[in-house]
Symmetry: C2
Subunit: 309 residues, 2 copies
């Protein structure tokens, strides 16, 4: 294989009570990346389509991740990258995570799969860190592994694929406003009230139990964020109205994806996700903010090869 | 049935990352209670053996719990209580919880079982509150239901029996020193660092997942308390030494039971629990503190009838 084209899904992270821990891919939307072997050693970004990201290989998450991987496997050839960036940086649905996951996945394919997707996580994390305040895996892990992924610990790495309930769908709205990750970190309190901690812990435990026991009611009562949402929602226009509508229509939960401004709702069934899309679109049409919406099954798929030579 | 004698197990609560949420019974140790129907209406405590608890029915957790139940079911007869209090009040292994659970369980038997054990929890909680700062169910629920019990929420009541791994045992040491629950609440900070919160949430999620997937390694890496233990351990002599020894010998986890001073360790297999008992006994024999130790299988048993007429 000399050339590979991959699709890398956007990802919802900070899933309600799973702040910093839980994420899943949006299979209907993401970036594409073409990676080619070149005779000349070293990395080069030949083209960036869509949203603007650096061409400088020391500043682009994709190439920095690739370098981390190539520190461990030496090659006597190089790689060229062509990146189609559909996910807006700073949208809260894993834009840099997609670049990081896509490049290590593509290079691994071109090398003949020396690593498992789980092993690729550390390289992707090592690259993504240049766009984040701290190292985290809750976008790259679900992008690489697919499904509902729990990052129990990054050091040592304990990444868990959780069981999926049948018929789980997700609606996402991405308002096209800029929320800097660093600012949405700053807005969080450094310390949390004990009673909120207990509620977050028990909700997360309830969520994990609900997935194993296929208990949609318990899932619904657990998909809540006691800690982060109340602070970050101030940065997102119409958040309360959108959430209220989602819950009123029957969503299992609704909260902020990543550090915002994207909002997600989880539903049982695709019809409800579509109904929610319709109603939330009406709410956002009242603003003068541009936005995109997506609907995706929560499935076990992640990053994939769409073409190769 | 005119008279019933019940055994009510002591309970370990605040199980590591499950602070305020998770508990289980110590089946090898507990209180006994004899409850008799009397012609005269009303309640009476005729005898208290063992550790001292109030004879005044408005101050004894057992009778206050019974009154809560009898508010909902009127009888034209009364009840007499004889309580054998083996569990020291303030020991951290559910002394008041045992009184509360035992009395409602016994009365329910004498009434012909109008309530399920799950329904009895609210009455037991309603009585136990007189001995605690706040209403909680993490002693009465495991005493009444048996097994590893998660109190997801008390209002509305969501109490979950978690799956048990085979061969789970528990070692407990109860140093006979007094730690007031109110003081061990006071010693806790009102607010918790965000990074500790994330670690507690992910450990609790890991613990729940490990029970469903029978993963002892994950259980071991999850049975940790990032929040409470570091503060309360100062009240317990030799805590660090005991914990270090338990972990060194291979315990899956070790932490403080309830609000202390009892310490528990969870093991795979009874032999390890016995070995731990032997070694921890040596550590405590170096002090001039009296203590008791217990070993118990973590099983699905809870409160039970041992005799009836």
């Amino acid at each position: 294989m000399k050339k590979v084209k991959v699709f890398i899904p956007a990802t919802v992270s900070n899933v309600a009570c799973g702040f910093d821990i839980l994420g899943f891919p949006i299979m209907s939307f993401g970036d594409e990346m073409v990676v080619r072997k070149t005779d000349k050693k070293g990395l080069k970004i030949t083209k960036v389509k869509g949203y603007d990201v650096p061409l400088d290989i020391t500043k682009n998450v994709a190439t920095v991740s690739a370098m981390k991987l190539l520190d461990d496997i030496k090659t006597d050839y190089g790689f060229e990258f062509e990146i189609t960036k559909n996910i807006i940086p700073g949208s809260g649905i894993g834009s840099s995570g997609a670049s990081a996951a896509g490049s290590v996945y593509a290079i691994n394919k071109l090398l003949g799969d020396p690593f498992s997707n789980k092993e690729l996580i550390k390289y992707a994390m090592g690259g993504e860190v240049i766009s984040s305040v701290s190292e985290h895996a809750d976008n790259v892990a679900p992008a690489l592994l697919g499904g509902l992924v729990m990052v129990k610990s990054i050091n040592p790495q304990q990444i868990i694929n959780l069981p999926l309930l049948p018929d789980l769908f997700c609606f996402i709205i991405n308002p096209k406003i800029q929320v800097k990750t660093s600012y949405s970190r700053e807005i969080l309190p450094a310390k949390i009230d004990m009673n909120l901690v207990t509620s977050q812990v028990s909700n997360f435990g309830g969520l994990i139990h609900s997935l194993h026991t296929k208990d949609y009611d318990l899932l619904k009562s657990s998909l809540k964020d006691s800690i982060v949402e109340q602070h970050r929602k101030k940065l997102i226009p119409k958040f309360d109205e959108v959430k209220e509508k989602c819950i009123e229509l029957g969503a299992l939960g609704c909260s902020i994806s990543g550090s915002g401004p994207s909002i997600f709702a989880i539903t049982k069934g695709e019809d409800l996700a579509k109904k929610i899309e319709e109603e939330v679109t009406k709410i956002y049409q009242e603003t003068n903010i541009e936005f995109s919406t997506y609907i995706s099954k929560i499935s076990s798929e992640g990053v994939s090869v769409i073409d190769s030579e």
